[in-house]
């Protein structure tokens, strides 16, 4: 089992960030697998929350969408979306949420709206969904994205969801329940954010990836942690869970 895919590494690295977390806003795709893996390893108490209004979901199959019927059956509570956003999210009850996007900047601001000009976009992306308020109010934001020069950019085409302001004096005003993005996991490396400046900071580089590969795939010169290390590989147990229990068809792990 010593071999593993890039996705398996990203999933395992992300799951470990959930150590001890009690609840998490889950998206579909990778975040869903990440949460399922964390529940079976580092966060046995983890409750899955979906913006569709489900709390404490126990999906019996891999959901294709965040509104899959398997999320409702057997969950702890189903609530209107108003209550989910107002009473749970805006009130600061959500510990962790996953976000991603077409573009991210060095302060963790995200673009999920357009590539090009808003009025006549080159690519019309989905828009905010709940991302704007999730970025503001989830206690902690984890970002999972593939890394490339066109997505890790010096300047966003559109700021859909706020990260850090870059201004330590005025970061995350009162009334924002969350502390913003804390980690980014890509297919090349993992990053944290500097507590002072809010700037994305390289923490670990994946096995087999050179620091220059990381630099070549982003639009700015990254701040590098003085104690940068290699990202830990997935353990045999993590790989077994992923392959045998969570995604036997390899929908998300290949």
């Amino acid at each position: 089992m010593s071999g593993y895919t890039k996705n398996e590494l990203m999933i395992a690295a992300s799951a470990r960030l959930l150590t001890g977390v009690e609840n998490c806003f889950v998206g579909v795709g990778l975040p869903n697998i990440v949460c399922n893996l964390a529940q079976r390893t580092v966060a046995p108490e983890l409750q899955l929350v979906y913006e569709s209004g489900v709390f404490g979901a126990r999906p019996r199959r891999l959901p294709l969408s965040i509104g899959d019927p398997t999320l409702a059956t057997g969950s702890t509570a189903i609530t209107s979306m108003f209550e989910l956003f107002a009473f749970y999210l805006q009130a600061g009850l959500i510990d962790v949420a996953f976000l991603g996007g077409a573009q991210i900047d060095r302060f963790g601001n995200l673009n999920t709206t357009v590539i090009g000009d808003y009025g006549r976009p080159k690519v019309r992306l989905p828009g905010s969904g709940g991302a704007c308020e999730i970025a503001i109010h989830a206690r902690q934001i984890l970002v999972i994205m593939r890394q490339a020069e066109r997505s890790f950019v010096e300047e966003l085409h559109f700021r859909t969801s706020p990260g850090h302001s870059g201004d330590p004096e005025h970061d995350r005003a009162r009334g924002w329940s969350g502390s913003g993005p804390t980690n980014v996991v890509t297919d090349l490396a993992t990053y944290g954010f500097d507590e002072e400046t809010g700037e994305m900071t390289l923490r670990t580089v994946h096995p087999g990836v050179a620091l220059d590969d990381v630099r070549a795939n982003m639009g700015w010169e990254p701040r590098v942690s003085p104690d940068v290390t290699e990202t830990p590989r997935p353990t045999d147990e993590e790989l077994r869970l992923l392959r045998e229990e969570l995604d036997p068809q390899g929908m998300y792990t290949k």
Partner: protein, 305 residues
């Protein structure tokens, strides 16, 4: 007073050219059959509102019913893009589409304001986002209390017509929903006219046995349509599964305007009603979408006489 109607009657009576129409339902209970009937009846210049336009609005916009879209997340959930909508926005093909966009919470609060006769609704979102810059209807206001906090407000959304699907309703339109609730209640109360489509029309006593389950009261409902499988390829919790294969297939269908047009011809225009659509898919398909049982158990309200 019975409000029972056929889908054809309900759409003919209640959906008019130029209306703002909300077919709500977050992934769950999206009433595709109503969208198809609106296409079939050739409505034009609609403003379509939905948190997640989903494949239903890609079909309707592909069919040319709309001039404007109000939304918060524009995609094929779990699959990717809505190609017909993107062509209208990116290439203005076959013509431009006005868009007015919010975040999810903003859209929900617009319906809440509309349902509550409030001139605005405050939310703590949009801070340091570019969304208010492209939507001048999202504006900051300041708390009049000591905190002086700045929040944003969104305006009420009051659709001319809201169409929602429920598992069941009585003939007066008292509708009960279980599973994901989305923002159907708020969208229905906000609307001038409401169509409720159901899997099953039931006796009023079924509703009255569990009044806490009622999500939309008949008082706001204009027409009740019994139309089984009306949500396909979306789903009705406990009745049928989401047809994920169709959501995946739609990606290829909608990528090319010609295949999209062919699909509309075959699955909408050439059919007289949703009953024909159900028959065309065939019994085996519906059997494959049927879930196993997961009963809720029952509670006791007590008889106080």
């Amino acid at each position: 007073m019975s409000k029972v109607a056929t889908m054809r009657e309900a759409v003919a009576d209640l959906v008019r050219d130029g209306d703002t129409v909300a077919i709500e339902g977050f992934t769950h209970l999206i009433c595709f059959a109503a969208g198809h009937e609106i296409i079939r009846q050739g409505r034009r210049d609609l403003t379509l509102a939905r948190m997640t336009p989903d494949v239903i609005y890609d079909q309707m916009i592909g069919a040319g019913v709309a001039r404007k879209l109000i939304f918060s997340w524009l995609g094929n959930p779990g699959v990717g893009s809505l190609h017909a909508v993107r062509r209208r926005i990116e290439d203005q093909e076959p013509g431009p589409l006005d868009v007015e966009e919010y975040s999810h919470f903003g859209m929900v609060c617009r319906y809440v304001a509309g349902a509550s006769n409030l001139p605005f609704f405050p939310i703590r979102s949009y801070f340091e986002s570019d969304i208010p810059a492209v939507n001048p209807r999202i504006v900051p206001i300041t708390s009049p209390y000591e905190d002086g906090d700045e929040v944003y407000v969104v305006p009420p959304l009051k659709p001319d017509v809201t169409i929602v699907h429920a598992q069941r309703a009585d003939r007066d339109g008292n509708a009960q929903i279980w599973g994901l609730l989305g923002c159907q209640k708020e969208a229905a109360f906000a609307a001038e006219r409401v169509i409720v489509v159901v899997e099953e029309l039931v006796d009023g006593d079924v509703i009255r046995r569990d009044p806490n389950r009622t999500v939309i009261p008949g008082i706001v409902v204009d027409a009740v349509v019994e139309e089984p499988f009306a949500c396909h390829p979306s789903f009705a919790q406990g009745y049928y599964d989401r047809d994920n294969a169709f959501y995946l297939a739609w990606d290829a269908i909608a990528r090319d305007p010609k295949t999209l047009e062919g699909w509309l011809q075959e699955w909408v225009y050439d059919l007289g009603s949703h009953a024909d659509y159900v028959e065309k898919w065939g019994a085996e398909h519906w059997a494959s979408l049927k879930p196993g049982p997961a009963p809720s158990g029952e509670v006791d309200y007590g008889m106080y006489a």
